[in-house]
């Protein structure tokens, strides 16, 4: 049966080996070719044999462009094959969520690698002048997806608050630091906040609004703004700044907006979420905080308790419920969440119970189902199985609720 719960993904999908090798201009290995063939067959990717031929050709800019398009096609079919209602490109055209933007906005400069967790890093940039919109950031990828997709699209973009938070603010902060007159009373943190505000609002006006306009004019119906950095600075002043920037960013656009946030303080977010204009869905990570046992009580579902804060503070939109853990998992798993290749594969029953518990707090009509975050760390095989559990779990939950 079809689930009554909308199924969606959050954004990223691991880049296939053939995509990495061919885009780097390296020879494509036998293993990578097998991967392209196996998944081409399995996902029913139309004309995938053309890709196999392409991968054997010499490197050229045209070949790289084609490879990129093929990887978008594969990603779309990957998500479509599971039965998701909203799909996208798996961010195959992006090197990484932060760097993709930083490399396309004038006056960002990449400074080097910074650790985020374990052995994961991101290339951190600095803003060295006012940001200038010099080229499209997401439009080209959207146009390819629009042409190839068989399901409606949800376009994930890295939010401006996160871009500011993850960047060195050399320009705006530097202006203030260089004018310090009294070392005894200065609180540098205060100067940094003032600099962040100027940076953020300039970025919204100069870059994000033009890009969103371009996407909407090209037909984008739903833009998901990814703001993983949100709430990392817990001061109310920071949250008010975020709200101001969000409302300024979305003003006047007709498309649907949603916010994705993860590994954050939802108690804090809940206080400010009702102030976000046009924010029709909050897609949040929950599975990471939850237990692996079955059950629909609060005790069994500690990860979903924070939903109550959103109810309490009056957020009226939907929730994109994070139901699948997306990082490597060091623990032992359970009978309803087995560890496969270092990743958890949740059972449909565990997904079901998570959904049912969330329904008891916010109501079934406000829930969509998704993984906690993007799936770029997981092998395709694992992620595919997890998404199948997501779909089946949503079906089981719908059966219980009787819809």
């Amino acid at each position: 049966m079809a689930s009554r719960f909308a199924l969606q993904e959050i954004g990223s999908l691991k880049k296939p080996l053939w995509r990495l090798q061919a885009y780097r201009g390296d020879p494509v290995s036998e293993q990578a070719l097998r991967e392209a063939e196996t998944w081409g067959q399995r996902l029913g990717v139309e004309g995938y044999r053309e890709l196999l031929d392409l991968l054997g050709q010499p490197d050229s800019p045209e070949k790289r462009r084609s490879v990129l398009e093929w990887s978008i096609r594969y990603a779309l079919r990957f998500f479509e094959s599971v039965g998701l209602d909203r799909v996208y490109t798996g961010e195959q055209a992006r090197v990484e969520m932060y760097e993709h933007v930083a490399r396309r906005v004038q006056n960002f400069e990449i400074r080097g690698s910074v650790n985020s967790l374990d052995y994961a890093y991101y290339s951190k940039g600095a803003i060295i002048g006012r940001p200038v919109y010099k080229q499209h950031i997401y439009l080209d990828e959207f146009l390819i997806a629009k042409r190839l997709a068989r399901r409606p699209l949800k376009v994930p973009i890295t939010g401006p608050y996160t871009m500011v938070d993850w960047s060195f603010n050399e320009y705006y902060e530097g202006l203030r630091r260089r004018s310090i007159g009294d070392w005894r009373t200065v609180r540098i943190e205060r100067l940094k906040l003032e600099g962040r505000r100027d940076f953020l609002l300039d970025l919204v006006d100069a870059v994000y609004r033009p890009e969103i306009r371009a996407l909407v004019e090209a037909g984008a119906e739903w833009i998901q703004v990814d703001e993983p950095a949100l709430t990392s600075r817990p001061e109310d002043e920071e949250m008010r700044l975020f709200v101001e920037a969000w409302n300024r960013m979305v003003e006047g656009f007709s498309c649907r907006f949603s916010l994705h946030n993860c590994y954050s303080d939802y108690r804090l977010l809940a206080r400010f979420a009702p102030q976000l204009k046009k924010c029709s869905q909050l897609a949040l990570e929950f599975a990471n905080r939850d237990s692996l046992a079955l059950g629909v009580t609060g005790e069994a579902r500690p990860g979903y308790q924070d939903l109550r804060h959103f109810v309490e503070w009056g957020y009226e939109g939907e929730f994109g419920l994070g139901l699948l853990h997306v990082h490597r998992y060091d623990g032992g798993g359970s009978s309803h969440a087995r560890v496969v290749g270092g990743f958890l594969v949740e059972s449909p029953e565990l997904v079901r119970d998570r959904i049912l518990y969330a329904c008891s707090i916010v109501g079934a009509d406000r829930i969509a189902c998704n993984p906690d975050c993007g799936g770029r760390r997981m092998p395709w095989e694992v992620y595919h199985r997890k998404l199948q559990s997501l779909r089946r779990g949503a079906e089981l939950a719908a059966e219980v609720i009787g819809c």
Partner: protein
């Protein structure tokens, strides 16, 4: 007249080479063996230790390059497990796995010895960082003790045993990293500060007299805590001067050495030698600590390695200027 010097105050960033290697190791995109990775960690640690020694850092710290987060190497303590989920480390874009206290804490092997390169530290000048008892207590999930005092003292006792087992000729300085003491959301609640004091005493007594102890606070201002910290049996107090103004601390009689966290570990803004020395001058005039070690405000891991090392160069230069100025 204050004595001056310099020190680093936390986990150092991995170089771009080590970034590539660790990433490849985890993702399996290149053939990187565990042994090759260990060699790379060792080589880079050696380079950073030599750098600190040759540039005259007051204490030569193990850069803790292998530490995936502030708690992970502790996970092989008896009674401790690692949570499966990731939690944000204060206001940063880095994440840690929550320690789960599931039994009485005890020594199980020597996890810390394998996490540092103590044998590379110079005799009489080596140091290491560790989460302090309060930060451990506030950020762990306690499923066993149910009592902050017992938990903090249990942790302090185990840590002192582990540190005591390391080479005491080389290890003469321990920084207890205590961001939770000053971060707004995790500040001590009623009675917890006194419990913390007892835990620190356990740790200090366990270590004996040969090790200098620093309590380093960051992610907030220690203004309210300073009178208490001055009473602890420790040698240094660290202050995050990105989040603290000098004027907030005036009026406190500084009887400990001051770790002056002025160099911003979260900003690529390159503090000039003049700025560092001017700030240090104001600190000495306002607070009159007996010793000032100029330092980054926290772990430099939030910077790319090249920027971190450029900042350390400025720190070294500034310290030399300050030392010359004080006649050292």
């Amino acid at each position: 007249m204050a004595r001056f010097g310099c020190v680093i105050t936390g986990i150092h960033p991995r170089s771009e080479g080590l970034v590539r290697l660790t990433r490849a190791y985890e993702l399996g995109t290149e053939r990187v063996t565990a042994a090759a990775l260990e060699r790379a960690f060792r080589e880079e640690s050696k380079r950073l230790i030599s750098y600190q020694w040759s540039r005259g850092f007051t204490v030569v710290m193990d850069p803790s390059l292998k530490w995936k987060d502030h708690f992970r190497p502790l996970s092989s303590l008896r009674g401790l497990e690692v949570g499966a989920g990731y939690t944000r480390w204060f206001t940063t874009n880095t994440f840690y796995k929550k320690p789960l206290v599931v039994g009485e804490l005890g020594v199980g092997g020597n996890p810390l010895g394998a996490s540092w390169y103590i044998s590379m530290l110079p005799e009489g000048r080596g140091g290491v960082f560790l989460p302090g008892p309060y930060t451990f207590y506030r950020l762990c999930e306690d499923r066993f003790y149910g009592d902050p005092l017992r938990l903090m003292k249990g942790y302090a006792s185990v840590i002192s045993s582990l540190l005591g087992a390391l080479d005491s000729r080389r290890l003469v300085y321990v920084q207890l990293s205590e961001p939770a003491l000053t971060f707004e959301a995790t500040k001590p609640r009623r009675g917890e500060l006194e419990m913390y004091g007892e835990a620190v005493k356990v740790l200090v007594e366990g270590l004996g007299g040969g090790v200098r102890i620093s309590v380093h606070t960051f992610f907030g201002s220690p203004a309210e805590l300073l009178p208490f910290l001055m009473r602890l049996p420790i040698d240094y107090v660290g202050v995050d001067f990105v989040r603290t103004s000098i004027s907030e601390l005036e009026g406190v009689r500084f009887t400990k050495g001051l770790i002056c966290g002025f160099v911003d570990a979260e900003s690529s803004y390159m503090e000039s030698v003049d700025e560092i020395t001017a700030f240090a001058g104001e600190v000495v005039e306002a607070l009159a600590p007996p010793e000032v070690l100029m330092a980054p405000n926290m772990d430099l891991r939030y910077l790319p390695a090249s920027i971190a090392e450029a900042k350390l160069e400025r720190l070294v230069e500034a310290s030399r200027v300050l030392m010359r100025g004080s006649g050292e």
